[in-house]
Amino acid sequence: MIVPLIKGLQITLKHLFKKPITLMYPEEKPDVAPNFRGLHALKVSHNKAKCVACYLCPTVCPAKCITVEAGEDANHDKYAAKYEIDMLRCIFCGYCVEACPVDALGMTQTFELANYKRSDFVFTKERLLEKK
């Protein structure tokens, strides 16, 4: 009866000298997996968004959080005049990225999306554009 009790004490004493596995979060950031589905990013090529406003992403979106409005640029090419994602509704399923035919949409490793106002959670095209 006494031996297991002493064994238990040994285990806790051994752990006392182990390095804590705690991550000091705001100072230290966790290593996020490369395929982590965080904040969306609109990819850029030739200094403009690759999005052609095909409406596949709002169609496939199960949370109905993507709003796209098409526009016509100087070369009569179709582009997204308005591209908004409501992060409060988004469920981060990544279907929009899968659906995109021109690889214009991706997901980043950013997971710190807290904000003070509801309106700040609606990410406009400018905020979504990929940062290089």
Partner: protein
């Protein structure tokens, strides 16, 4: 100048000793909460509090301020007088046991000999006169502690509090017996109830009553375990038992009154460790200056308390009773007999 035949310096020294011991216990209580969280944290491979001040060292102060400014809630169905009295009744016995514990050797100030024990004085030859029933006084104060908890449990008028109070009274009574019988082994060796005489008899490592003979060794361990049960520390924290009784006897308490129960718990821990040190670990005897020996031993025992808390889960109620009445009580009786035979044989 003399009062009642004693020079004034004795009274000054007495007041100073009271203040020092009180401040020491209060500071230890405050930082025991911090140390406990740190030690248990590290034993669980976490870091514990580290946000308030460097390494979280100001955490006890932050906790104190938080509790002080919390709203005072008294349940409308509570028995108000007893409800307000209970935290005091729990806290005071925890502190006053320190009156008889010798925390250092006799020191000399301006030609007067001052023993470092509150309820004691020494004549010019260095002979110490202290409370000659010191151990009984400690036992008495330890049993007073249960009233605070029972009173809190009963006056809250809540079923969880009542259950906590009932449990604690049953538990304290059962374990007091075994603890008292374990101390009998000490009396048999020391031939005295005065704590000064008990410490003076324990010079040298093998003079410690813990290492006097195999029976006192076991008695020391049993005394320490029973003391843990008496002050409701894990694994015997049934009166609080968060998982089943919300918070046991202090469920209905908030603000400073809750803090007083918390302080009582830790002050009891300090007292119990100090008593165990005095009775079994040679008190202030040791290689360092006398007070430091005492503090080091007390802190080591407090570390053991926290270590035990980090290791063992809580006893079930029937297991607790079985352990107290069927294991510890008979074995301490056996230890007394064995001790008597040992002392007679190896005089």
């Amino acid at each position: 100048m003399e009062i009642m035949g004693l020079p004034l310096i004795y009274y000054g020294a007495m007041i100073l000793k009271v203040l020092l011991a009180f401040v020491f216990v209060l500071l230890t209580v405050a930082y025991a909460t911090y140390a406990e969280r740190k030690i248990i944290g590290h034993m669980q491979v976490r870091v514990g509090p580290n946000r308030v001040g460097p390494m979280g060292l100001l955490q006890p102060i932050a906790d104190g301020i938080k509790l002080f400014f919390k709203e005072e809630i008294i349940p409308s169905e509570a028995s108000k007088f007893a409800f307000l009295l209970a935290p005091l009744v729990a806290l005071i016995p925890a502190f006053i046991s320190f009156a008889v514990i010798p925390f250092g050797d006799v020191i000399e100030i301006a030609g007067y000999k001052i023993p470092l024990q509150i309820a004691a004085f020494a004549d010019n030859a260095g002979t110490v006169f202290d409370l000659n029933i010191g151990v009984l006084y400690i036992l008495a104060m330890a049993s007073l502690g249960v009233y605070g908890i029972v009173l809190a449990g009963w006056s809250s008028n809540s079923k969880y509090s009542l259950l906590g109070g009932l449990r604690s009274s049953a538990q304290m009574i059962s374990y007091e017996l075994a603890a008292g019988l374990a101390i009998v082994c000490v009396f048999m060796v020391s031939q005295s109830l005065s704590l000064h005489a008990i410490v003076a008899d324990q010079a040298g490592l093998f003079g410690w009553y813990l290492f006097r003979n195999p029976f006192t060794f076991l008695a020391g361990i049993i005394f320490f375990i029973c003391s843990l049960a008496e002050i409701n520390r894990t694994p015997f924290d049934l009166p609080e038992a968060e998982t089943e009784l919300v918070s046991g006897f202090c469920t209905e308490y908030s603000s400073m009154k809750y803090a007083m129960f918390f302080m009582a718990e830790y002050a009891n821990m300090v007292t119990v460790c100090a008593v165990t040190t005095t009775l079994f670990l040679g008190g202030w005897q040791g290689p360092l200056p006398s007070v430091l020996n005492f503090i080091a031993k007390v802190y080591f025992l407090m570390f053991v308390c926290m270590w035990i808390r980090a290791t063992y889960p809580r006893y079930r109620y029937d297991q607790l009773m079985k352990l107290g009445w069927k294991v510890f009580l008979p074995s301490t009786l056996f230890l007394i007999v064995g001790n008597a035979i040992w002392i007679t044989l190896f005089k």
